[in-house]
């Protein structure tokens, strides 16, 4: 156990995780038709490498990443590809590969465990890339890409994020309680892949069982490179930059990534997925998802195949109960609200929250800002939300940039404390989109102007060259010789 350096601001929230942690981890039934979004949430596409009619087993690759920001995709079930079509997913509307389950649950015979200790770091990274391991903390960014960046920056410190600060989400807690050894092994593999020399597993202090399990797992491994750090249960201490500040005491510069200060951060779920891959050869095809809320009969944590419709998961937890008012993917503070439960899960879905009105806060009508400053006290990015709000209402782009709108992590802390019930997070999100559009427009216009100026210069030079040539020819025609 290490001591804790200075902490950023945060809120103590009601965790609401007990109900979902009462039962041990269950496995959700495999879906009848798995719907795999080709864009798993990172915004970058992959290319399908199967066609309609291809037979696949669990773990068969079905799409290759087209850029460094996308991950390879693998089939979570055994069956036949029935369709490649546009469908609605959690990540939006996009192209999906639909696979029909043939109930054999057969694994792809090509899968084999990886002797990771025998591989060098770069080869290990390549294996992880091909295994489609994505950040399971929600962003679904390729883990191999992050670790490669860490290697390129000679990062020494790997942080495994087990903080899980957001209310209602407890999939990482369940994972750490029951598969602590996997988390530690995954950490060791990531150390080898990234070249880091120190691994810190960060857990909030409201998870004593998880802390005990991880401590035991670290002791069993007898690897003194791996340590556990307890953090206070503050939201949003699990946000990457805030977590790094809490553990190392250093802030990641706003215009750079964590590897530039020698730290790389991964979710504990990602580490467990890495461990499963090296142990069995199985790429990322399933993950733990919390299904919770007062609108679910038996909330709990499930091992879920990627691409399972959310309705199936709720049914696996006893179905709906009461009158669920909102279906949220994610937690209470940053979760996205869905219209329908037929949407399939992606690699980044960590929690399905079927909320009744009792779980939610009904807001009063919005009042004007009374400048109380509670939002600034709560902001983990040390912004001034009330000033940002004024600037957002006035659409004053200069002020928004100066006040740091780009640094807002949209955690919802300011909304939470505002006595005037102003929907600050939504306003800032809209303002950021407007600013991004405007910035893109201005960039285009500036490039067009530069090209135009080059065009004019070229024409002027051509005209000057022609004039010189003409005078030269005239001189020679008069027999005067060069000047």
């Amino acid at each position: 156990m290490s001591n804790r350096p200075a902490l950023p601001a945060g809120l103590r929230l009601d965790a609401r995780k007990t109900a979902s942690l009462q039962c041990p981890l269950r496995t959700a039934p495999a879906p009848r038709i798995a719907v795999l979004a080709i864009d798993q949430g990172s915004g970058e596409a992959a290319e399908p490498i199967v066609t309609v009619g291809t037979r696949v087993g669990i773990g068969t690759p079905i799409a290759r990443a087209a850029s460094n920001a996308a991950t390879d995709l693998h089939s979570p079930i055994a069956g036949v590809v029935v369709e490649i079509a546009t469908r609605s997913t959690v990540a939006g509307v996009g192209r999906c590969i639909l696979i029909e389950n043939d109930a054999t649950d057969a694994r792809d015979p090509a899968l084999a465990p990886v002797d990771w200790r025998a591989l060098d770091g770069v080869t290990l990274l390549d294996c992880l890339r091909k295994a489609g391991i994505a950040g399971l903390g929600g962003a679904a960014f390729p883990a191999a890409g992050k670790l490669a960046l860490a290697r390129a920056n000679a990062v020494a410190h790997l942080v495994l994020n087990g903080a899980e600060c957001e209310p209602w989400i407890c999939c990482d807690d369940a994972l750490m309680r029951e598969r602590a050894a996997d988390v530690v092994l995954g950490g060791q593999v990531m150390l080898a892949a990234s070249g880091a020399t120190r691994c810190t597993i960060a857990i909030e202090d409201d998870k004593p069982e998880a802390i005990a399990a991880i401590t035991a797992a670290i002791a069993a491994e007898q690897d003194d490179r791996v340590e556990l750090v307890e953090l206070p249960a503050l939201y949003p201490l699990g946000a990457e930059r805030q977590l790094i500040e809490a553990i190392t005491g250093r802030e990641v510069p706003h215009d750079a990534l964590p590897p530039t200060i020698g730290v790389v951060c991964q979710n504990v779920g990602t580490a467990a997925a890495v461990a499963r891959f090296v142990g069995t050869g199985e790429p990322l095809v399933s993950r733990i998802v919390t299904v919770t809320g007062s609108g679910v009969a038996c909330p709990g944590n499930l091992e879920v195949r990627i691409g399972t419709p959310i309705a199936d998961l709720v049914a696996a937890c006893g179905g709906y109960q009461g009158d669920p008012a909102r279906l949220i993917v994610g937690g209470a503070m940053t979760g996205r609200s869905l219209t329908s439960d037929l949407v399939p899960t992606t690699k980044g879905v960590n929690c399905i929250f079927a909320a009744t009105l009792a779980d939610l806060a009904v807001r009063d009508p919005e009042m004007p800002c009374i400048r109380c400053g509670d939002c600034a006290t709560a902001c983990p990015a040390r912004l001034l939300p009330q000033q940002l709000h004024r600037a957002a209402l006035a659409d004053d782009r200069d002020a928004l940039a100066r006040l740091g709108l780009a640094d807002c992590i949209e955690c919802g802390c300011c909304d939470y404390v505002c006595p005037s019930q102003i929907p600050l997070t939504a306003r800032f999100h809209a303002a950021r989109l407007r600013m991004q559009l405007h910035d893109a427009e201005r960039r285009r216009a500036t490039e067009a102007r530069e090209r135009f100026e080059r065009h004019e210069r070229r024409l002027a030079e051509q005209a000057a060259a022609e004039r010189l040539a003409f005078e030269d020819a005239r001189r020679r025609a008069r027999g005067a010789g060069p000047p």
Binding site: P8, P253, S337, M367, P368
Partner: protein, 323 residues
């Protein structure tokens, strides 16, 4: 099974549930000790003042909301105008003619708040706007305080700060001035109890996190430090720090008036400067100015400086190097 349909909403999906009426109610609650001591010292006239001010304030607010076309029930219930009325009522002399209190409240609500756009938009503290207008327009009535004490007979007497100012102007030394019955052990005769009650209420607000510590602490420091310094240099001509802290509207100003969030600075550092400025200006006006108590004008002057303070005290954002 038919598909479930859900309504959508933007995150966050939970909030703390703090509301403006709750904040305002806490402030009113914290004023109760002050009001009780006030009534004990000066008689029940305060209750009449509070009543007049509250009724006028609600009436003016309703009128202004109707004229501006804003939703009346929501804004009338938010309690902010009651806080303005209460602060004004406890600041004016208890025997002020009721129509002057009503006039001052009307000025505070209509001119000090709604002329600028209503809740959250006023650059000046509305109660102090009303008080300042009354003080400047009706100086005699506004400085006629009864003698504090359990016998509510004597109508006219100088307040301690008043006695201090006139005494110094007449070149009496501090020791001679302090012998005047207007003074108690520490500060003004009744005033020290009033300040203690306000301190009590203020501490309650601090503990309940309704106000933050920057403004009160800075104001009290800004008042006490120059006072202590000048008192050390020339004890005969300047009152000491404890006297200033225990006299006049010091504690009321520090915890209730200067902390009005709408007209105060935004950032923590800005609030420190804001509070310190109020404290120093109060001391200057008390020691060298033309009015016995300077809190109202000090607050209004620092309200003027708030946009500047906000502009130049933006805190360093996480991940940015120095601003």
């Amino acid at each position: 099974m038919p598909a479930m349909k859900f309504r959508v909403a933007a995150p966050p999906h939970v909030i703390a549930g703090f509301t403006v009426p709750r904040v305002m109610f806490q402030v009113l609650l914290a004023l109760v000790p002050f009001a009780v001591v006030h009534v004990w010292l000066f008689g029940p006239a305060l209750l009449l003042q509070l009543g007049v001010a509250a009724v006028t304030a609600l009436g003016c607010e309703a009128l202004a909301l109707r004229l501006r076309g804003r939703p009346m029930p929501q804004f009338l219930r938010d309690g902010s105008v009651l806080v303005t009325a209460a602060l004004l009522a406890v600041s004016v002399p208890p025997l002020l003619p009721w129509w002057l209190t009503a006039f001052g409240t009307a000025v505070a609500v209509l001119l000090g708040k709604h002329a600028y756009g209503g809740l959250g938009q006023n650059p000046f503290n509305p109660a102090m706007v009303g008080y300042a207008v009354l003080l400047v327009s009706f100086p005699v009535e506004m400085t006629r305080w009864p003698v504090p004490g359990p016998e509510w007979d004597a109508v006219s007497g100088a307040t301690a700060l008043d006695a201090l100012r006139t005494g110094l102007a007449q070149s009496y030394t501090m020791q001679e001035i302090l012998a005047d019955p207007a003074f108690g052990r520490v500060g003004a005769a009744g005033g020290e109890w009033l300040n203690l009650a306000a301190l009590l209420g203020g501490t309650y607000l601090l503990l309940r996190r309704v106000i933050r510590w920057q403004i009160p602490l800075a104001m009290l420091a800004g008042l006490a430090l120059p006072a202590a310094l000048m008192h050390a240099i020339d004890p005969g001509a300047y009152a000491g720090a404890l006297f200033h802290l225990a006299s006049g509207a010091t504690m009321l100003g520090a915890f209730f008036i200067a902390t009005d969030p709408v007209s105060a600075a935004t950032s923590d550092r800005g609030r420190l400067y804001f509070g310190a400025g109020i404290g120093v200006l109060t001391w200057i006006i008390r020691s060298w100015g033309g009015y016995p108590d300077g809190v109202a004008f000090a607050v209004l002057l620092m309200n003027l400086a708030v946009p500047l303070l906000d502009r130049y005290t933006v805190p360093r954002i996480h991940g940015h190097r120095g601003r």
